[in-house]
Symmetry: C2
Subunit: 268 residues, 2 copies
């Protein structure tokens, strides 16, 4: 049977806390260094794991979880090894325990408060998105300039006017700001968020924000994503043409066709 590590919510302290004097950027509470690339994948693993738990799965091997998460199994193991040795050789990983450990690593034990600025369609979508409400992150404020929108109830919260921004952010203990405004407004909103004490920003506006040192910004840009896809489309097209020129029909073009379809669901 799987290793019964029953130190779930309790042993957060026992686990790490080497509390050595120096902790240069990059170290976590456990003193380990978690590479950025790994951090970016942890949420994916977390989601796959919670899905498994809900399906009643107790234990999962790196191979299975890797398929679920769409990564290489060696990479998965290395990623997890950065958090500690939480697997059991010959068995795999205890799903629930791993969920707990990854959550802890990501800082989802605390409850980070989020304010969303700009309650258009996107802002609505974000506010209503139940996905993160569940753990670690809770939306506590919605703001907009439009008098039509202000006062409206969205996802159980009342939209407040932009003039309240600093107030709401500072008093509400908000540390993460989400910008879903049109591009031109983004920089100013950003500055006001930071002034209110926000130190992390998720920016959906098509703008590169200028922020003071110490503030982390992540940008999500729809048209950027589409343009990257366009690039790949074009490249594929060029390759196909080139291939056709040569042997008639070999290589990549087919992969997207019938042949590839046969095996595409092997994972599951």
């Amino acid at each position: 049977m799987s290793a019964p590590r029953d130190d779930l919510p309790a042993a957060a302290e026992a686990a790490g806390r080497s509390t050595s004097a120096r902790l240069p950027a990059g170290r976590t509470s456990t003193g380990r260094v978690v590479p950025e690339a790994t951090v970016a994948r942890l949420p994916v693993y977390l989601r796959s794991l919670t899905a498994l738990v809900e399906r009643g799965v107790n234990t999962v091997s790196s191979e299975e979880l890797a398929i679920e998460a769409g990564v290489n199994s060696a990479k998965l193991r290395k990623d997890l090894s950065h958090l500690g040795s939480y697997g059991t050789r010959g068995v795999g990983y205890d799903c629930e325990y791993l969920v707990y450990q990854i959550s802890r690593e990501l800082g989802l034990a605390e409850d980070w408060r989020v304010a969303i600025v700009g309650i258009g369609n996107l802002g609505h979508a974000l506010a209503n998105y139940g996905g993160f409400a569940s753990r670690g992150v809770s939306v506590v404020a919605l703001l907009d300039t439009d008098p039509e929108v202000v006062g409206e109830k969205v996802a159980g919260l009342t939209v407040v006017p932009m003039s309240e921004l600093e107030h709401v952010v500072a008093d509400g203990g908000v540390s993460i700001g989400v910008i879903a405004t049109p591009g031109p407004a983004a920089q100013e909103v950003c500055e006001r968020l930071v002034a209110g004490g926000v130190t992390s920003i998720l920016n959906f506006a098509p703008t590169v924000l200028q922020v003071p040192e110490g503030v982390v910004v992540r940008r999500v840009d729809l048209s950027t994503e589409l343009q990257i896809l366009a690039f790949h489309e074009q490249r594929r097209l060029a390759e196909r043409e080139l291939a056709d020129l040569g042997t008639g029909r070999r290589s990549t073009g087919d992969a997207a066709g019938a042949e590839g379809l046969a095996g595409w669901r092997m994972a599951r």
Copy 2:
């Protein structure tokens, strides 16, 4: 004058990742190879450049453009050098010409057709997003299951029922699909899109899609992004606590406060 620019910690990796099999790093029409990391930044440069053009700027140096785009100038130059030698030493780059070259490289000369599946709040937001309508990418179909939504006019298009999917995609020459459905529906939608001939997918659902070889998937996941920010918040918190332990209260917290604000706008 310390640089106020904050290097985005994870910019390169960020949200999207290609699920498809190793595409042999893109060759351009000229036979050059453009690294993925560069491709991911080109849209940002493109946006900065078009903004400059609109402001009436003719020429820009790598240093200026780099600030605008939030990257290191050496990186910018190397990125651009992958497209060819389009700059003039001692002068800089001709904005309009560079816009043209980057557009061409990204494949925005062609007009890629996009279908959006799932017209909830997010789907609405995407459909109405004017940003990409302008160049290279045009939304030609909206689909949803909900009879309430089907028939509705959004952004000048009528929402059609999901049963039409393969038909609309195949006949409409759609090569890029955007999935904005709830998680559970995503995999099936994906399969049907591919069956209709889509070879690139932008997935907003919280799911890892299984696709046949040759199909490129980029994933944009809100809660993933927030969890990454939570990680950084936590790390910063830990560091601050540790710093306070040492010298009383000269903490990094101040950096986000008044002190940092002084210089943060120098770029502009």
